[in-house]
């Protein structure tokens, strides 16, 4: 189902085939999807259905075997690795289930990193503000391993949003957290999404969480199945 707003993500017949010892495996089998700016979209489906691969393609971290991928006006199929990195640095914030913080850097340095890459002279000031926004203003000099799981994910969230990206991609951001902490993170994520008016694409196994998004895309066996479910945003 086409997006109502101008699309920030436009995928057409995207296929992904990977080599494996047992022979080539079709991970994505012709995905076509448009997501409008400011939308919140949940991608749901069983394990192995291709959700994460789809998210990686949207992030430019995986290249589609065929099909067209246009993100924030950039044709990803035509961009080189470094150009993709630059687009990510400016336009896309990614939140992982396993946080993927740089273990050798403090919370502040982790958050400042994408801003530094983008050459922002205020990197550390913004990073400090962001950490304050996620409630970690007092933990700026801690290393990831000195933080709890929830705190680590809040740092990851601050890092993803620090450059004010148009697009937030989140891969099961609460998968490694307990229920309470997970809820806090989700509140934070949706709050930031709303306040920044950024597009949010969220992979989740949690039906309740999916319901909070305006739209749900169901995947199975590398395909979108059953069409999109559009709901009134909560």
């Amino acid at each position: 189902m086409p997006a109502t707003a101008a699309p920030i993500i436009s995928l057409a017949d995207v296929r992904l085939r990977l080599a494996s010892r047992a022979g080539p495996v079709d991970i994505l089998r012709g995905i076509s999807l448009e997501i409008g700016a400011g939308e919140a979209v949940a991608i749901v489906g069983p394990s192995g259905s291709g959700k994460t691969s789809l998210l990686m393609i949207m992030a430019g971290l995986e290249r589609a075997t065929s099909g067209s991928v246009t993100i924030a006006g950039h044709d990803f199929t035509r961009l080189g690795e470094d150009e993709l990195a630059l687009v990510r640095g400016r336009e896309i914030g990614i939140v992982f289930q396993s946080f993927h913080l740089v273990p050798t850097m403090t919370a502040l340095e982790n958050v400042a990193l994408p801003l530094e890459f983008a050459g922002n002279p205020d990197a550390f000031r913004i990073a400090e503000e962001m950490l304050g926004e996620v409630g970690l203003g007092h933990r700026t000099s801690h290393f990831p391993a000195q933080l709890s799981g929830g705190e680590q994910q809040r740092v990851a969230l601050a890092r993803a949003l620090a450059p004010r990206p148009q697009l937030i991609l989140a891969d099961e951001p609460t998968g490694n957290l307990d229920g309470n902490t997970g809820n806090q993170i989700i509140e934070l994520l949706f709050d930031l999404h709303r306040r920044r008016n950024a597009t949010l694409v969220l992979i989740t196994h949690d039906p309740a969480l999916a319901e909070r998004c305006g739209r749900t895309v169901r995947m199975a066996d590398g395909r979108i199945v059953g069409g999109d479910t559009q709901v009134e945003a909560a």
Binding site: G89, Q146, E172
Partner: protein, 860 residues
């Protein structure tokens, strides 16, 4: 089911089964394979290989010596002494003991009969019984006995013919006679027992030698008598018995006796020294590799934390966990040791197959149990030293913090017993190195030096990390990332600095020692040394000799001193065979020493204790001894020294101790006697001639020609030739040292590669995260480059300073020559460090940049 009588008390059962259980668990744990242990195994194997190879090499040469001792010596025993042939009574006794061959050797000038050229030669006169064992091989298969005895000619080494431009059939002048060249010698069976350093061999019969007029009372002739006292090989018992009988039958003969068990103590001693030195270098390589061992174990324990936690949750004690992983690590060390032993054995086998002909003797590749045991002991001890600490930390870590130790390091110290065990292992290693060394103080200094070097580079690693953490964050992201990595907990800094530091320091020290020595030999020494040493100038020719030199080379400086040869037979009233001197002074007691007498303190000497005798002293014989050697020999002022000169024992009291500047190459002696002690003995003079600085080569050659033509019995040794010969030997030694030093660097490179490999997964993940956050590849590449460049530069700079200080100490304090700094050597070290770190690091970075992002980002 157990009855009460057979029930084993729980404690006893646990004690009885703990050992096998630990082994069983360790073996089960090993099922996970050896990945991550390749560098561990390689590091242990490399060090053990070097030590084993050194052991096999020396074992083989020693075995070759023992097996071929009879051939090398030319008999079961050889008796020798300077100046004086055996008297009829002595000859009769010797002849009665078995078959005997007589020889006389001396240095002399072999001259063209037209007087146009001359060369220093080692003349050997032999009787018809020579050689008792083996045969002299001649070119063209001519008969040796025929050539020298029947034809009365000289059989010479090919190099002499080349130097003098002569061929077989021509004649050479020896002393006051001419001798036809009747053959060319290809192989001399007992050559190794002679010190053929100065010139090529010239064989003549003893009769011909007498005819030359060179054999005079007091001239420097060494008389040798080879004996076969048994039909086959003389047994050890027979050899010992012979020595006893000789001592009682000819008590004051002054003969030096060698037997087939150790045909050349000089060579044997050199071998022992070489073994010690190269073993210590092997130990250095092993210790540098130890860093790789420690890294591997730390990583291994890191990977095994879940297993440890599981063990603990299932009731395993800390001691049990320590035991299991220690056993496992020792089993892996055993693989490294085994590989090292095999490779160490193969290296000499291959070297012998390729270069065997270049050795002075045919080496039978063999290995003694001691060599195997010591190489293995070093391997296990070093492995233990470097594994106990990380193993001790693992047993203490609570399961709850297992997953956070790397970045949130709670400073976990191993238990006191593990610390004590580590200290005990280090002590055992040092003790083993020291006790198995021939010269223990060298081993002690070496160990202290090594500990200092390790401490320094470990400290440097900590310092770099500390500084990097405290530097204000750079605004340039590449630099900020690089500095961040340098200061990161669990980063590469300490491993790289520690692994490369020792090897680079060693190479800088070797290079600077080499450059200082080369400068000394090629520039300084020739400038300050005499041009010629002239031996065997008859006392009566002294004035004529001076006149000749002043006529041919006006402005030359001539110095002379009386010269005799004698053997020390007693020191401080004790026979020398009962004295165990410090190894560095042993040479003074073995064989003949040059002796002199003088009214005044000789030039280049300074009296540091006691008093010099008055000019007209006529009391009991006095002697002045070189101070340092006197200390090593345990004698001092007032002690007596008995020397055997021309068969007479002369006892003198030590009246003074002198400090001698040996490096000046002036005439210097260990012992200088009061004139009344030796004046009456027949002797010749030793002189040095220093040509004026403007003398050209033609004048130099003319003087040599004039001396040998006018004084046929005198031997002129050109100092520059001797220095060149020494330079050549020194060059070879330095090459060997450089190769050994390179092995340390190779070990360092292994550790470096291992550390980089261990960090690789983390680095790839880091780079992937950077990419997701918008970093382009150039940025990651640059940050790695900056990190590696800083590490290489800091390590090389400190290594350069440390190497320079070490070389300065060796050069100025041990060799006592001027230190020459060579910027090439230091820049070379820097370049090498950059190449190694950049090479390995660059390869790693290339892989980091190629790595796909997705596998690292997916959740486990």
């Amino acid at each position: 089911m157990t009855s009460a009588g057979t029930t084993i008390a729980p404690q006893a059962r646990s004690a009885r089964s703990a050992g096998p259980q630990v082994l069983r668990l360790a073996l089960r744990e090993l099922r996970s394979g050896f990945s991550g242990f390749h560098v561990f195994i390689a590091c242990v194997a490399l060090g053990v290989m070097v030590i084993t190879a050194v052991g096999v090499l020396t074992d083989s040469l020693r075995r070759g010596f023992e097996q071929q001792g009879e051939l090398l010596l030319g008999g079961d025993l050889v008796l020798s002494r300077a100046h004086r042939p055996a008297e009829p009574k002595e000859l009769a006794w010797l002849n009665a003991q078995g078959r005997m061959a007589a020889m006389a050797t001396m240095r002399t000038m072999a001259r063209r009969i037209d007087g146009q050229d001359q060369a220093l030669a080692e003349l050997k006169g032999v009787d018809t019984a020579y050689p008792l064992v083996g045969a002299v091989q001649m070119q063209g298969g001519a008969g040796f006995a025929e050539a020298i005895h029947k034809q009365g000619g000289a059989v010479v080494a090919p190099i002499l013919l080349e130097r003098l431009g002569l061929s077989v059939g021509d004649s050479i002048a020896l002393g006051s006679t001419t001798v036809p060249i009747t053959g060319v010698v290809e192989d001399e069976p007992d050559s190794i027992t002679d010190n053929l350093t100065y010139g090529p061999r010239v064989f003549v019969s003893l009769e011909t030698m007498q005819r030359t007029g060179l054999v005079q009372l007091g001239s420097l002739v060494r008389w040798r008598y080879a004996l076969k006292i048994a039909d086959g090989r003389a047994s050890e018992e027979q050899l010992v018995r012979f020595r006893d009988q000789l001592a009682s039958a000819l008590p004051d003969s002054g003969f030096t006796v060698r037997d087939r068990r150790n045909p050349s103590p000089r060579v044997t001693r050199s071998l022992d020294r070489l073994r010690q030195f190269l073993t210590l270098l092997g130990l250095t390589a092993l210790l540098v590799g130890g860093v790789g061992v420690a890294n591997a174990v730390a990583t291994f324990i890191d990977r095994r934390r879940r297993v440890i936690a599981t063990f603990k949750s299932l009731g395993a004690t800390s001691g049990m966990i320590f035991g299991v992983f220690l056993t496992q690590v020792l089993l892996i060390a055993a693989i490294g040791v085994a590989i090292g032993l095999v490779l160490g054995y193969l290296v000499p086998v291959i070297a012998n197959a390729i270069y065997g002909d270049a050795l002075p003797i045919r080496a039978t590749v063999t290995i003694s149990p001691w060599s195997i045991a010591s190489a293995a002991a070093y391997g296990f001890l070093v492995a233990l030293v470097f594994t106990l600490w990380p193993l001790g930390r693992a047993e203490l870590v609570r399961a709850g913090v297992l997953f956070r130790d790397e970045v949130a390091p709670e400073p976990v110290r191993p238990r006191p017993r593990v610390i004590a065990l580590t200290v005990a292992t280090v002590a055992a290693l040092v003790l083993f190195a020291v006790l198995s060394s021939e010269v223990r103080w060298i081993a002690i200094y070496f160990c202290v030096g090594l500990v200092a070097v390790f401490a320094l580079f470990a400290g440097l690693g900590v310092l770099v990390t500390y500084v990097a953490r405290r530097l204000p964050r750079s605004t340039v992201p590449e630099v900020a990332l690089a500095i961040g990595n340098l200061g990161a907990p669990g980063g590469l800094t300490r491993s790289i600095v520690l692994s490369l530091g020792a090897g680079l320091s060693l190479l800088v020290a070797v290079a600077l020692t080499d450059s200082s020595m080369v400068r000394e030999l090629t520039t300084h020494l020739p400038e300050t040394s005499p041009t010629y040493f002239v031996l065997d100038i008859a006392k009566t020719d002294a004035d004529e000799f001076r006149q000749l030199v002043n006529r041919v080379a006006p402005g030359s400086e001539i110095r002379d001193a009386p010269m005799l040869r004698g053997r020390i037979v007693e020191l401080g009233g004790r026979p020398v065979d009962q004295i165990k001197p410090a190894p560095e002074a042993q040479w003074v007691l073995t064989g003949d020493r040059g002796l002199t007498y003088s009214e005044g303190v000789p030039e280049g000497s300074r009296v540091v204790a006691g008093e010099w005798w008055p000019a007209d002293y006529d009391g009991d014989p006095l002697v002045s001894f070189e101070a340092e050697l006197a200390g090593h020999l345990g004698v001092g002022l007032g002690d007596t020294v008995t020397v055997n000169v021309l068969g007479r024992n002369i006892t003198a009291r030590i009246a003074s101790l002198r400090e001698v500047k040996w490096e000046s190459l002036a005439i210097n002696f260990v012992m200088v006697f009061s004139p009344n002690a030796l004046q009456a003995a027949p002797h010749s003079l030793l002189a040095t001639i220093t040509l004026p600085p403007d003398a050209d080569l033609a004048r130099d050659a003319e003087l040599a020609r004039a001396i040998s033509n006018t004084f046929p019995s005198a031997t002129a040794i050109r100092v520059k030739d001797a220095i060149d010969a020494f330079n050549d030997v020194f060059g070879k030694v330095m090459t060997a040292v450089r190769v050994a030093g390179s092995i340390t660097l190779l070990a360092g490179a292994l550790v470096l590669a291992g550390a980089l490999a261990t960090a690789q997964r983390r680095r790839i993940k880091q780079a992937v995260i950077f990419k997701t956050l918008g970093a382009i590849r150039k940025r990651i590449l640059l940050s790695h480059f900056v990190e590696y460049a800083v590490l290489a530069a800091v390590t090389a700079a400190v290594a350069a300073v440390l190497g320079t200080i070490s070389a300065w100490i060796v050069v100025t304090q041990v060799m006592e020559i001027d230190f020459t700094f060579s910027s090439t050597a230091v820049l070379g070290a820097l370049a090498l460090a950059l190449v190694l770190v950049m090479g390995f690091g660059g390869f790693g970075t290339w892989q980091v940049l190629r790595a796909p992002a997705v596998p690292y980002l997916r959740s486990d």
